[in-house]
């Protein structure tokens, strides 16, 4: 571990020599918020350790993933490394409008969030991933609380996913039940796995679940711009939301607008940071499957991927 740090220090020294033009960073710690899913925590530690290698001090603070935008806006947290278009786009845009938060960079990774099922579901409903085939086997997804309709387990209501609108627009024989947290969705999948019960839930990528339970997204009519607002767009002429979610949502990095001034070097690095889907899944896997601690996983990842991040600090 110590050798690792020294290695980073040397790298940072070189970087420092190369970029003499920038003003010095403040000695105050950079506050990186962490949430309750592993890829974000590891990514925060990866970037944090890069900052430390550049000579900054870094602190991590756990926060709610929606409330964090208010914290970044006020400078209580310095940056946010995973701004998901689907999940946090609204909170992020609202914070940008109030001022105090800037859009720093966009990851190479694309995000997708939609109806999803684990592979064993396909045995009960072979026509998948087509949504019409899913609708035809709705009865296989029925539960006591949904009666004869199939159950779709959606995310918490505050994720604002418009699943009910989709069901109505496409005339599906499904009832939407909202889970209260991501953990509730995982618990349902884990329970279904034991008996190989068919299940269709809200899920997203990149995400640790992919590594644990292989599965696929349901293919709805393709997303077109305006499908959520203009009834004419999409296959059903008089309905909105008659389509799937965009299959390539953004994953952004946001920061407090004072960061560029207070920690110019770190900010310059942050502007170059970009991870791919594979890299993010790898980070999550180190923790969720290999059982490492996030800090340790970040160090491991940095050691294995020097070629990737070295270019960011030059």
């Amino acid at each position: 571990m110590q050798r690792q740090t020294r290695l980073l220090m040397t790298a940072a020294g070189l970087a420092l020599a190369a970029s003499g033009a920038l003003a010095e960073d403040s000695s105050d710690p950079i506050t990186i918020p962490i949430h309750n899913w592993s890829s974000q925590i590891v990514m925060s530690n990866v970037v944090g350790q890069i900052f430390e290698a550049e000579g900054n001090s870094v602190e991590y603070v756990s926060t709610d993933s929606q409330a964090v935008y208010e914290a970044v806006r006020l400078g209580d947290a310095t940056l946010e490394l995973e701004v998901w278009e689907g999940a946090f786009g609204a909170s992020f845009r609202a914070a940008v409008e109030k001022g105090g938060i800037v859009d720093v960079a966009t990851h190479n990774a694309v995000t997708r969030e939609d109806w999803w099922y684990p592979m064993w579901t396909k045995e009960a409903c072979p026509g998948l991933p087509d949504w019409k085939a899913l609708n035809d086997c709705a009865a296989k997804f029925a539960t006591p609380e949904t009666g004869t309709k199939g159950r779709f387990l959606g995310g918490p209501v505050d994720w604002l996913k418009h699943d009910q609108e989709k069901v109505d627009a496409l005339g599906m024989n499904f009832a939407v039940v909202n889970a209260g947290s991501a953990a509730a969705i995982w618990a349902e999948i884990a329970a279904a796995e034991k008996t190989k019960t068919p299940i269709v839930v809200f899920n997203w990528t990149p995400n640790f679940a992919e590594a644990v339970w292989p599965g696929e997204f349901v293919e709805f009519p393709k997303w077109e711009e305006g499908c959520d607002k203009d009834p004419a767009v999409g296959p059903v002429p008089d309905k909105t939301y008659d389509c799937g979610n965009p299959a390539n949502g953004y994953l952004k990095i946001a920061a407090w607008d004072g960061m560029a001034e207070k920690w110019p070097k770190a900010f310059a690095t942050l502007q170059k940071v970009s991870f791919t889907n594979a890299q993010i899944a790898e980070m999550a896997k180190l923790v969720d499957v290999d059982g490492m601690e996030p800090e340790e996983a970040a160090t491991t990842w940095l050691a294995a991927n020097e070629a990737v991040w070295k270019t960011w600090i030059q």
Partner: protein, 654 residues
Amino acid sequence: MTVVSLHPAPAAFDQRRTAQALLLLAALLTVGRNVLPEQLVRLPEAMVIPFAHWINAVFAFLRDDLGLMTLTRTFSDVVEFCLDVTANLLYGKARWPRVGPIPWVVIAATAATVGHALGGRRLSVLAGGTFVWIALMGQWQWAMETLSVIVVAAPFSVLLGLALGTLAWRFRAAEQILNPLLNIAQSLPHFAYMIPVVVFIGVGPKAGAIVTIIFSVPPMIRLTLLGLRSVPPEIIESGKMSGATRWQLMTRVRLPAARTELLIGVNQVIMQSLAMVVLASFIGMPGLGQKLLQLLQALKIGLSFEIGLTIVLLAILLDRMSKAWAHRQPVHHATDASWLKRHPHLAAWIVLTVFGFVLSALHPYFTEVERKQALSLAGPIDAGVDALLTVIAPVAEWLRWFLITWVLIPLRDAFLWLPTSAVLVFVAAIGWRVGGRRSALVCLSFAMPIALSGWWDRAMITVYMVTVSVVLAILIGVPLGLIAAAKPKRAERMLLLCDTMQTFPSFIYLIPVIMLFGVNDVAVIAAVVVFATVPILRYTIEGLRGVPPELVEAAEMSGASRGQMLRHVKLPLAVPTLLVGANQSIMFSLFMVIIAAFIGTQDLGQEMQRALSAADVGKGLVLGFAVAFIGLLADHILLTWSRDRVALLSSRSS
């Protein structure tokens, strides 16, 4: 009193008559629902009062125009400074005084010495053992992060409680303002506090500390007031006679005389602080709670169970320690005793500490056990939970189907079907029955704002879930309590189990419950029942144990069978205590139903979760008040009833 019970006074008779008339009216409104005018079924939109909007306006005014933000931020800076010091000492955060982290062997030895000083060998083993467990399980860093916040928050809370309690004792007006505030504060769900804290303080350890202070201060205020009130006047007299000034009278006479109550207050503060460990991590409290949520998110039940055990151990340890401190009598040594004789614990502590530092200098294992070297019970626990789930899965499957189709959905529909007017009249009827016109008005003043707030349907769903949970909790808890109370040893063991269940972080139940029942009301109610049974069980045992032995003996002499003894002697005498238990059970259920929003509910809790993520202070507080008012309504009815029973019993026995 005797007269009243022998001949029911006209007042009591009227009370029953009016209550019956109101009940009849409620029944009529319900039966006639379909022909009722729309306004009596649900309050028209136009009459909904925008409380949330008003609260937000007040908060915006406080924040922007009065500059309260600078004040709160200054206060939080003070708290943050203290937090930095403890964080440095306990886990080596890079802050002044930069001497930490203290090696775990030293902290464990310190805890063991303090334990010995307070409560002898058993407490010493518990104290040392807890910290050794934490270190060996590789949870040192997390536990110290948690403790670094608690050791700051608890003293702040104690001081604040002392100050406010004294104020309330000194000035009647202060008490009159504080009392209703405390009532509401103690029944407001945790999440409702957190939203204003996020707005005024931000997120992070300091926000965690401040929310912990706010949550733990009410019992301290109450017990300070109680303690100061109960100081016998003779003691004050003798203080005055020896010429004490007012300040001396306070610090040397009144406060020491109220010592026991004050220390119970300290004990309550510590317990409440530990109860906040997991919830406060939603707004940035580091440590065990944060780790627990992360692990649950990845479904690592075994590992989160370990953390849960640590929290329980810490809670039991701190509880026993503060109680031992409360009961300890000052020791007086002979004046000619040597220093070592007078301070044996201090001497032992110095030796152990030096030894500990030497050990940690010799090998880093004694400074901190790394995660890789840690022991873990996660494997067996996971296997155990898995096996348990597999065994009960078929029963659970059937239970889920049965409860949903035949009990829960019909009940829920029925609760939602009831006209608002009928519910309000019903509430007034119950109020009238237990305490006459005054109680009826009190009950209505709790129920009306909920109707006016526009969250009626959601509140009814909350009420439905709490009702079902408490009924189930009584069905399980009372018989268990009866069995447990039969033998003193058994009762002791059951009470320890109650302590454990009560401090075990309830979030951990949520996952297995979902695995068994899925995301639905059965899962929610199962999780709530686990929690709501604890007070029922506890108070059943306490109530039965509190029955005077003379009465039992007298009944035995008159040849009562065991069943008769229970039905005619023990249970009637235990009823007031049982009612207090039911009251607590309702409070616990309300808190838990709100937390169960993480399973997935459609009640007030779900909206509260939304308000928290949108940092919407007004909405959060309105929802919080709605929950608090449901609790206070039940509290008023049950406590009035319980007091009546006590009065009735004492009037009969006199």
